[in-house]
Symmetry: D2
Subunit: 470 residues, 4 copies
């Protein structure tokens, strides 16, 4: 058994921390300390209590000491791994991110990656990640840093911008859903039993939430070649990877994959993320709109009210679990983070997708921009694999998104509100606005979340007459 | 004196051919044959008559034989240079290009480069240029080919796609206007006498009509550094490089450079083309709109009615000139084509901007995409200079345009209407449309110019129910 | 079980064919046809008889039909895999390759990769591989082609030069020996039980037989970091990965790894091939010389007399085996070819080293030059991994070798004897010769193997006075 | 007239300083201060006296104040240009560089660029240039730095390694001689009057003193195409660009260009440096040897005794000139440094060759290695032009030299004697030595110049038993 220390930033996490603790509890060859660090210290303590109950679970095969350090530096001290899974800002800020643009005709199904919401969220998150990067450089420069926070690409870019020698990458499970969907497609089109997701080998290329599957194989079967025929049957009706095809009506995180199908028809490669994410990367009128519009595309908007209610439930469940009122549902999750950690410790060699600065894996893209491709994880190394090229029109779209992210991070790190606004105006979902509308919306969203921004930015410029673009 | 043959494709050109013939008449060390080839043979014959009058002009120092070959191959046979300056299609087609999108709220000041008009014009032009490239490969593969036709980048890309060994480049004088404007800026801000355009050394980077000046020097003066102060004074009022600042009200090709100034303020580098071109590279609501809107930006829309009237006048003038009713106004023009030809013949070495496939001159851009940068012209060689990088947000925009052009040319050469539509939908000026609006507009514009398109494309798909995007 | 066809070029192979047939016999999920093609048809028939005996072996789990086609095209028809393992030319030619240069003071331990022998061997082999590539393009362009023949890099380069769309790579097991040696080092320096070779994960970078291990790990142990201490103890005495440290005295293919140790001391990275190969990549006086010299470096020269005797023994053994006089020693070998084939069929995903044209895996090297690095083998794909960079002085040496190979293949394909001579003169082992000595040696070796060369080259130039270098 | 300050490091220069002062005196639009800095302060004062006499010369059109600062920082303070032309070390050190290797059979015609002499000279020079770079960063980071000192590439590499933001390049006139020779070739082969050197436009590619002309034009004439016929006539007899073809017998700096001709025959491109330089880039036995051998190649060895005597004469002449005993022979030289300075000041735009870190001008070479190619000099910018590729075998040779230089500079800056020895052993002229001979020679040369080296290196290792290579 190898003794390691994991610093978990956002250790009060309402859901993901538990999944992670379960997976670690079931990793026979690991053990050591998990430092749960959170600015919501009570939440971290609650997760510690859950961790201790997991330690006592009969199926647990590894042993972890759960600590709740008071400072970031203390959490990082001696860490072999740093896992970052935070919620930057408040639900009220998120409400502004998601709903404020609706007054300008911009509807955002998620609002955490790109578009007005993605930009504002980055304005809150990038300064926090800059602080993380500095602390990691100072305290544990050799640790592996695994980011799970959105906006993923901006977070990873920030880490590398501030500390170029960092060993960091970002993990996202959106690709897994597309793999599940392809399993269903295989079954539907060939009559074979539905495979497991892990049996689908995909080549991916793009940026987080806008990653494209350029090749998918099940054994020697070319899975993408099934899609034209599949779409002849299911383009109109939609098709869910879950049994109930209208599941999206009840579960906001599900969809009928109609956007995905429409994009595959147009571009010939398959976008890997859920439809609600995909819709945000295009002009707003393509796939977004109020509920009645997006329902035609068979997905739902994720309102912030829903998120608040959902969070309340999860906290309540966590309290019950911490207090032993409900049992620990210990089982291996579908997440891969613990597997990747084992590969980094030299146990195995794994090919999976990750977000990393471009170092040749996507040849048409700038060096250093954060992209999501397959990588080989092995002892103390994550090596990106050269991805297959994207079709031209997709490449153009992805490049624009990647460039925006680089520019956004740079502008925020420079505390340059004017340059941040420039990136805001260039968001695909803002492309129906006039210049003055775009600038008004930006100013309004900044003012609405002023408390969270003005520790970093000088917002006084917003109060001046703003008639020129200077 | 060196004896050369120039094949002039579009040799019936109403205006540019005369300028070219004047410049050649004044090039002491050149002489030979100018083959004027045009599908409008009468126009070519008229230009021949003008050429012969130029030969007789007392100030003429070189002697040219003007021929009007009947076939393209005959024109190209033995050519040392091929100059291409054609008008693809009819004014009625151009009317559709420019005005049809107005019904969808899209206003195009020019409509010949990007946007709906640019795409449809490319659909007519690319097949013609493919024919030129094949003929050049067959008949005069070593000739230098100079393109002056729009859409510039698509034309040059087509030449290289069809005949990769071609020695072709594209020339555009839009940068000259920006240089003139900078001369006025220098005078305004320093009190120095206004320099000549040739004294302004600019580094340019971008794609045709969306080329950006990243550095401009007059002797050791950094000219761009004058612009922030200049714009403090003239951002609102606008500023023309011509004496009369409201010249744009009378001359459609002039402008108050307010778009240029706004873009410099946002991006920190100076776009080189006229404002009417620049406006088309952004979401339509930024700088475009009906007359009353664009007048606020101090430029005018170029209606096709105006173009028809203008063409009529020029033909009438040409007829008079050919018949000797009016004198030949022989003088060296501001154009550089003849200078570049002399450099290619080994006379001089010149640094100027040209459109060429990217071979490292713009490092963040794909190999082979047609870009406009400075080049060194010398004996039998055009060598692009590594351009300074563009600021991130500009790079993202330019990349998208460059990628669209590559995709468009490829789609047209494959005769793939579906892929052409995909590029159409991704035009910046279409970004306010829904998917179905975009597809309707594309279909309508194709139908409107059906006669010119159906020799190349199978348009029957347009007649089918078009509800799915397949 | 998947039904496949394997075309085995060099199917009369005396040793390797048997190993391959054993491994295939033990691959439960495969089966089909193995077409043994050889210009020595009798040898192929003998191997077929052995194959049929293997089919009857009680431990055999897969079934193969062995055929002996009369023509290359027949062998290739319908092939899923093409395995190439030939001996180009005769032992007499090899005698010239290896021993002729001794008169000029050049001693070659192997003489099949670089140096005078490598060049002459390439002159015989490249035209044969050009023929293979053309036949593969014509008959089975989608087959995976696995080369095992030396000179490895020149063979693979030829395949891609003649048929750029070929799916070919080269396999070599020299790296395995270095891994074995590192296993012994681990045991010696840490006291841990000696690991299996497969547990050592190495990053390799270079060209075949001159591949360098830049990182080696056993679990989380950095194996290269053990070497300085290890060499403090064993630099002088040498150290074999086999039990008997003086095994090299009895087995020509073994060595004391003193060259390897000396190179690690100088360069800080570990060359992966056997010492007899390594010695040939440096100025001849560094590690080569007559027996008494190389014995100080603890390896032996591989004389051609030895090879002839060895071949005789193997043939005799094969005859006995084919006739059933001796039993079939069926067991899984240490080779990986069958594993790689299974990965290419979609069964698994494997990381291993292979020889492929550079496509970014070695960034400082020209695109298209054949290099040996780690690759990911998966369904219908071999993707090279970006290798770690080599230390400068090693990079310079490897680059020179890689460039020589590219130039050599190009010169031979052009049938250009003068250009071939130029590459010959630039071999590291020729660097002690004067220009005229080098040219004499080249001419002499060409004349000595004239029969095998003059089907491809015009050798008449050798008969002329050769005093100028023209 | 523009007022500038030039810091001249090595301002006591015996010959080159005068040439530079003449050219500046004749540059009408320049003037200001020339700070002559030299550790031989008396020599600098002598040059100041000469400078003042030049100021008084009737043909002088510009006015310069000559100063002799006491410290480097004082010299650099306020400098617009820094010109570096120093002689690192003593003639006795140079005697060791050039002649010590003769005992090992290595003959060096110059011994200042590559080979044993080049390495030892770099060991003395690189630390001095590291000091220059640090001072420039501290005192005048925006100055343009023009290096004229050998080993050129190592000097320029050092400047950029220590101060990556430096604006430095290296100038060498060897290419001019090849241009002169080509002028003679044109006259000989076409009967045209011999052109001026400036009329020959060459494309060059390589590293300093090993630069290759890949294209040469006189107007529209392809000059290299004349060489095969020319060499049919003059390969054996040799051919000098000077009138007297046996001038090399009397003037050590002249040659019969037989090495050049032999290399053109072998490689098809023309090396640009003098034969004495070229010979040092190949295995020593190719073109080097004692006097009787090199005379067959029609050049002479440059003995250090000759250099000492030559220096003595020049000093004597300078004294006479300073004291007014002999007149000032004021005329414009063939050097280009002042022209390049004028271009950098924004006066003109010039295409010429220069030594700069590779930034894409030589695509097959590593980024940052110092290469010599054509560049465009304009206001405050030197932009390298993408060079034509070199033939494979030349590329391999040049790459090795370039890599050696990078490794050498890095090793010296790290004060790593072992790594320096590694580069020494890999010199082409050392390729006939055994490992132990090479190491002995290196140690001997280090000991011989110990006084000059031990301020930088720890040489005590040389005194230990040196039997292992560690």
């Amino acid at each position: 058994m190898q003794n390691i220390k994991i610093a978990y930033l956002g250790g009060g996490s309402k859901a993901w921390a538990r999944v992670f603790m379960y997976d670690l509890a079931l990793a026979a060859d690991l053990g050591g300390e998990i430092a749960l660090y959170d600015i919501d210290r009570m939440a971290a303590l609650r997760n510690r209590a859950i961790g201790e109950r997991i330690n006592d679970h009969p199926q647990t095969v590894s042993r972890w000491e759960y600590t709740v350090p008071e400072t970031l530096d203390e959490a990082l001290l001696g860490a072999d791994f740093v896992v970052i899974s935070i919620l930057p800002g408040t639900f009220e800020a998120m409400r502004s991110d998601v709903h404020e643009p609706e007054a300008f005709g911009i509807w955002q199904p998620v609002g955490d990656t790109v578009g007005p919401g993605g930009v504002l969220r980055a304005m809150r998150t990038v300064p926090i990640f800059a602080g993380f990067a500095e602390a990691i450089r100072r305290v544990c420069p050799k640790a592996w840093v695994i980011n799970l926070t959105n906006p993923m690409a901006a977070c990873v870019k920030t880490l590398y911008s501030v500390f170029p020698g960092i060993k960091a990458f970002g993990c996202c499970h959106e690709v897994f859903h597309a793999q599940e969907w392809l399993c269903a497609v295989i079954h539907e089109m060939t009559g074979l039993p539905r495979p497991n997701r892990q049996e689908i080998r995909t080549d991916v290329s793009g940026v987080n939430h806008f990653t494209w599957i350029t090749k998918a194989r099940f054994q020697s079967l070319d899975v993408l070649s099934l899609l034209p025929g599949f779409l002849d049957r299911f383009y109109e009706s939609g098709y869910s990877e879950y049994k109930e095809t209208d599941a999206w009506k009840r579960d906001l995180f599900r969809c009928g994959n109609k956007v995905k199908g429409d994009l595959f028809r147009r571009y010939g490669v398959l976008p890997a993320a859920g439809d609600r994410h995909l819709a945000e990367f295009f002009p707003n009128k393509w796939y977004c709109g109020p509920e009645e519009v997006v329902h035609q595309w068979q997905y739902s908007l994720t309102s912030v009210d829903y998120r608040i209610e959902d969070a309340r439930k999860k906290v309540s469940e966590a309290v019950d679990m911490a207090e032993g009122k409900i049992p620990i549902p210990l089982r291996k999750s579908a997440e891969e983070v613990v597997d990747l950690m084992q590969a980094l410790l030299g146990r195995t060699e794994i090919v999976s997708n990750a977000n990393l600065p471009n170092n040749g894996q996507m040849t048409a893209f700038p060096h250093g921009t954060v992209v999501e491709t397959n990588c080989v994880f092995s002892h103390d190394a994550v090596k990106p694999l050269r991805a297959y090229g994207l079709p031209g029109p997709v490449r153009g779209l992805v490049y624009g998104i990647a460039q925006n992210t680089d520019d956004l991070v740079e502008a925020i790190l420079r505390k340059d509100l004017h340059a941040t606004e420039t990136v805001f105006l260039q968001q695909p979902s803002c492309s129906g606005l006039s210049l003055s509308e775009g600038r008004q919306l930006f100013a309004r969203m900044c003012r609405r979340t002023r408390d969270l921004l003005e520790t970093h930015f000088d917002l006084s410029v917003l109060d001046r007459d703003n008639s020129g673009s200077k």
